[in-house]
């Protein structure tokens, strides 16, 4: 059989397989598209503003009410409860009604105006990290401006300094913060750009493994191999190439949604991200093919890929930086193609630095393609005599 006939037969077989079962459509199209929609829609606000909080006003003076009005004006928090004591505030946190509470102590106004020591306490529930941090920020800025305003009033009131000089004295040095390319601290920028490709990678793992090992399970692998003229490389290419096309097109559509519709930062030529996506799809398929070849058993290979694929969301450092992990744990992040894609995204789309700095990421993605060479010979042997082990 000529090479071209074998290739053609394998490709036709691969396409037929894709439409033969519902699970392919469900997992290859419905899940990634649905997840992209879910994620982009869920995070469309960018930042979960207006966290419910409680205030405990033990002073109930005109000053304490002003402080609380200032707090209520913050976009980060929403005062939903008024508690009468610290214990009551804590109970509200424990029952999940609020994510933090702000305490104005007894005799606050009297002490503050009289120049005696007093302090504003605020409690943020970090058991839920994002709302806890945001309530902390909202509380902190209110407390600091209150404290500063009082000092300023004292200073100008004493006649020593005018308004401007008192303002400077309050904050002689300020740190002007610039979060580069994401000044709104939009969570969607970095969560969508990591978790949605991560989901794609997981689905590619599962589908690649399933579509190859199902031939062994169903006992159709000798025919599958025969259609490719006995060449396992042509056979797997025929099965996987149609999937590569689908995943690549869907991924590009996802990128179009990100960078055109949602206006996520894209500071590089579009080609850099498009090519990175294609390379990642192929690298993920190669990785899954390698694992399938190592086990040659559908359940074992799928379990391994599921367990590894789910860990990818943690170990590749989407939220916790890899350099901070234990080196012996962090090193595993580099076995995932999606890690390299994520690094390319940071360098290219987000930071827009010259592609020279990302060259190795692309090279590593390409190197993944060589992985199946190490195990396909074994897969071929099992395909010739398919034995299904549950």
């Amino acid at each position: 059989m000529s090479f071209l006939t074998a290739l053609k037969q394998s490709l036709i077989l691969g396409c037929r397989r894709l439409v033969s079962r519902k699970v392919y459509f469900a997992l290859m199209v419905f899940v990634p598209v649905g997840f992209t929609f879910f994620f982009v829609d869920l995070l469309h606000e960018g930042l979960p503003l207006r966290a419910p909080v409680a205030v405990v006003d033990l002073d109930d003076s005109s000053l304490s009410r002003r402080v609380i009005r200032n707090l209520g004006a913050s976009e980060l928090v929403d005062i939903t409860h008024r508690a009468s004591s610290y214990a009551e505030g804590l109970e509200l946190v424990k029952s999940g009604e609020v994510y933090g509470f702000f305490v104005v102590p007894r005799d606050f106004m009297q002490k503050a105006v009289g120049g005696r020591e007093t302090s504003l306490s605020f409690y943020s529930d970090l058991a839920f990290f994002v709302p806890g941090t945001l309530t902390y920020k909202g509380f902190m800025s209110t407390a600091v401006t209150t404290s500063g305003g009082l000092v300023k009033t004292t200073l100008t009131g004493s006649g020593l300094l005018d308004d401007r000089a008192a303002g400077v004295m309050l904050q002689p040095m300020v740190v002007d913060t610039h979060l580069i390319h994401n000044p709104w601290t939009n969570y969607s920028y970095y969560l969508s750009n990591s978790f949605i490709p991560g989901m794609f990678a997981l689905v590619i793992f599962l589908i690649t493994c399933f579509s190859v090992t199902t031939e062994i399970k169903q006992g159709t692998s000798p025919r599958w191999l025969a259609a490719a003229g006995g060449n396992i490389y042509i056979a797997t290419f025929g099965t996987l190439a149609p999937q590569t096309v689908i995943f690549t097109i869907l991924g590009w559509a996802m990128q179009a949604v990100f960078y055109r519709i949602c206006d996520f930062p894209l500071h590089c030529p579009a080609m850099h991200m498009l090519s990175a996506w294609f390379l990642m799809v192929v690298a993920c398929q190669a990785f899954a093919l390698f694992v399938s070849g190592v086990f040659c058993n559908m359940r074992l290979a799928l379990s391994t890929l599921s367990l590894l694929g789910i860990l990818a969301f943690s170990v590749t450092g989407f939220s916790f930086p890899v350099p901070q992990m234990y080196p012996s744990v962090g090193v595993f992040s580099y076995i995932y193609p999606v890690r390299w894609y994520f690094l390319i995204y940071i360098d290219q789309a987000l930071n827009g630095i010259p592609i020279y700095y990302s060259r190795f990421y692309y090279i590593f993605l390409i190197l993944f393609t060589l992985l199946p060479l190490a195990s396909l010979w074994k897969l071929r042997r099992h395909c010739l005599q398919p034995v299904y082990l549950p």
Partner: protein, 401 residues
């Protein structure tokens, strides 16, 4: 009635045999709840972001600016990677990942402070990971407050007696921030209690649907009859299976809530009895959900295709990463149908905030409601597909003829 209990017992016994002769299910039921919490905690166990390399562009080159750079170096979250001669050099360092943030001290930093004008220090941070930014920002805010306090004190000292009289002390109103739930601000302490809930739910569903896939395969191979099936009424069948899964998960749950927080010094401020009582409806509703989702699984291995990806969806739907109050509309409805949502909302507060079971009554009752809902759906499903039982009944009729 006795016959009913006997069939519960028989179903349970058979289910035990099916579980422990199936390596795939053993992997999900025993390996996942024991090893995964350890792997996850190991990943996040460094807890906080420390010593992020920062480049300093010191255009001032004075004692005051060097003092500021030293203070930045002393922050727990930052480490001065070096002095860059200009912003463009610092950008190059960022590009080659030698630093993730840049501090630019202006040329007139010391002069402005000396003239009692405001000095503005610019802080540029890489936006790739917000955890890094959060750590640096919180520390720099504290640094700014401390430096401002020092400078103010110096200025007051220069004015002397009149200022002392006016001010009393330099700052009359202090700020006292307190973190509760996760006082160390650690990432593992935040995420692992929630992940434990997800692991329990997902491993149960994976194992149950894989068993169901095996059942479906056996039925297909034997003309609609499962040779390993036990003839039992639908309610007895799901009760028996539930009993088997609960018994298997009892040691897993004890290990997960007693040992895992202990091993890694995670928050653990509730009582063990509360944990166990709280987790009972989580397990029951997850089992019932698993027995309902069986309908989508026709092959042992497709259980993984159908279930695995939902873990990622649930990670965001359950209010762990993205807060519940920002999940609205359809997604909120979907989230409230997932047992782990309520599991996380309640268990995290039990474990981290030291809440009592009474304080988390709302998630607790919701989980029982879900258990009832899914028990109903599982029962209906079981009645619909209970072919072997119907066969058994017809067999009895046949014998009596």
């Amino acid at each position: 009635m006795f016959a009913w209990f006997r069939s519960v017992y028989l179903v349970c016994r058979r289910e035990f045999r099916l579980v422990f002769t199936d390596m795939g299910v053993i992997l999900f039921f025993l390996f996942l709840p024991t090893v995964y919490p350890i792997i996850y905690t190991l990943i996040y166990n460094p807890e906080v972001v420390r010593e992020t390399p920062v480049a300093v562009v010191d255009n001032s080159r004075t004692a005051a600016s060097r003092q500021l750079a030293r203070s930045i170096d002393a922050l727990p979250s930052a480490r001065v990677a070096g002095y860059a001669s200009s912003l463009s050099e610092a950008r190059e360092w960022c590009a080659s990942h030698d630093c993730y943030a840049v501090i630019e001290i202006p040329r007139d930093y010391d002069r402005r402070i000396g003239r009692s004008e405001q000095a503005v220090v610019s802080f540029y941070c890489d936006a790739s990971l917000l955890l890094r930014y959060r750590a640096l920002l919180l520390d720099l805010t504290q640094l700014q407050i401390a430096v401002d306090g020092d400078l103010r004190q110096q200025a007051i000292d220069i004015i002397g007696a009149p200022a002392y009289a006016a001010m009393g002390s330099s700052s009359t109103v202090g700020t006292n921030p307190v973190f509760i739930g996760d006082p160390s601000q650690g990432f593992a302490s935040f995420v692992i209690p929630g992940i434990l809930m997800l692991i329990l739910q997902q491993s149960l569903i994976l194992g149950i649907t894989m068993l169901a896939g095996g059942r479906a395969e056996r039925r297909r191979a034997n003309g609609g009859i499962d040779p390993l099936g036990v003839a039992a009424p639908a309610a007895a069948a799901i009760t028996g299976r539930l009993l088997c899964y609960l018994l298997i998960y009892l040691p897993m749950v004890i290990y997960d809530v007693l040992w895992i927080p202990n091993m890694f010094a995670l928050p653990d401020s509730g009582s063990f009895i509360d944990y166990m009582l709280f987790l009972l409806p989580l397990l029951v509703s997850s089992c019932m959900l698993g027995m309902t989702l069986e309908v989508f699984v026709t092959e042992r291995e497709t259980s993984m295709l159908v279930i695995v990806f939902t873990s990622v969806v649930f990670l965001f739907l359950t209010g762990l990463t993205w807060p519940m109050y920002s999940i609205t509309g359809f997604w909120r409805v979907l989230a409230s149908l997932v047992p782990a949502t309520w599991g996380i909302q309640g268990f995290v507060r039990l474990l981290s905030d030291g809440a009592s079971l009474a304080a988390v009554a709302s998630p607790y009752t919701h989980m029982w409601l879900l258990a009832a809902l899914y028990a109903l759906s599982a029962w209906l499903l079981q009645r619909y597909t209970n072919k072997s039982y119907n066969f058994y009944k017809s067999y009895k009729t046949y014998k009596n003829l």
